[in-house]
Amino acid sequence: MWKASGTALFDPWRDLFGIENGINEFLSGLNYRRGDFPPANVWTGDDRIEFEFEVPGIPADKLEVTAKQDTLTVRGTREADPLPEGATFLRQERGEGTFARSFSLPFKVDADAVEAKYRNGILKVVLPKSKEIMPKKISVVGE
């Protein structure tokens, strides 16, 4: 009896629409390979590069961000919610396990000035350009 009531919770059409989702995402210009985790948006400016990662439900202390001169690495662990006593899954779509993703940066960054913030399941990493390669204005002294 419980089983029957449980199945009413989900909608079999969702799986079908899921396929459409994938196709739409493919056609919409987002270049994301399924399986790459976490998905990232990257922004570049004159003095910096910014990364945003979708890492919902991962506590900040389970995320490790490493910035070397020209590489950014994000590592972490996705953990499923602990299963309540005697519970069974009716649906399990969220991923779990460890992940690591590295990016080559287009320029040297100032590793000491890198900032990482976590909010609403989004990790934002701001990497300022290394001062060595920032253009310097040289004042001309008249003789």
Partner: protein, 122 residues
């Protein structure tokens, strides 16, 4: 379904959030991933036995930069509907939102739990 629409000049993409659903004898638990959505961006609606969860992502802080790579939509509206069995106690549903995860606790009606009926002498 992924669907684009314009709201106040912003492109909003409607997406289906991923969920885990767990069931015990007394409760059903629903966990939905909505990265980018804060506590105020969530909306839970129950009409009859149709439960709708929605979440709108917060706007990104502006910076003087260009988007170089996009793997997820910036302005998203998550939406998903579920049909509840009539064993759920609609009035007792509770929800929390943390780190982009919406968690719903849907207790089952207590009256449906097996109970003993006392036979009275007539």
């Amino acid at each position: 379904m992924t669907e684009q629409k314009q709201v106040q000049g912003k492109d909003i993409t409607q997406v289906t959030p991923r969920v885990d659903i767990m069931e015990t004898e007394s409760n059903v638990y629903l966990v939905a991933e909505m990265p980018g959505v804060g506590e105020k961006g969530v909306d839970i609606d129950l009409q009859g036995n149709t439960l709708t969860i929605r979440g709108n992502t917060e706007a990104r802080e502006q910076c003087d930069c260009k988007l170089a790579k996009a793997e997820f939509y910036m302005n998203k509206s998550y939406e998903r509907q579920f049909t509840l069995g009539n064993t759920i106690d609609a009035a007792a549903i509770t929800a929390t939102m943390k780190d982009g995860i919406l968690r719903l606790n849907l207790p089952k009606l207590k009256e449906l739990a097996p109970r003993k009926i006392q036979v009275q002498a007539g």
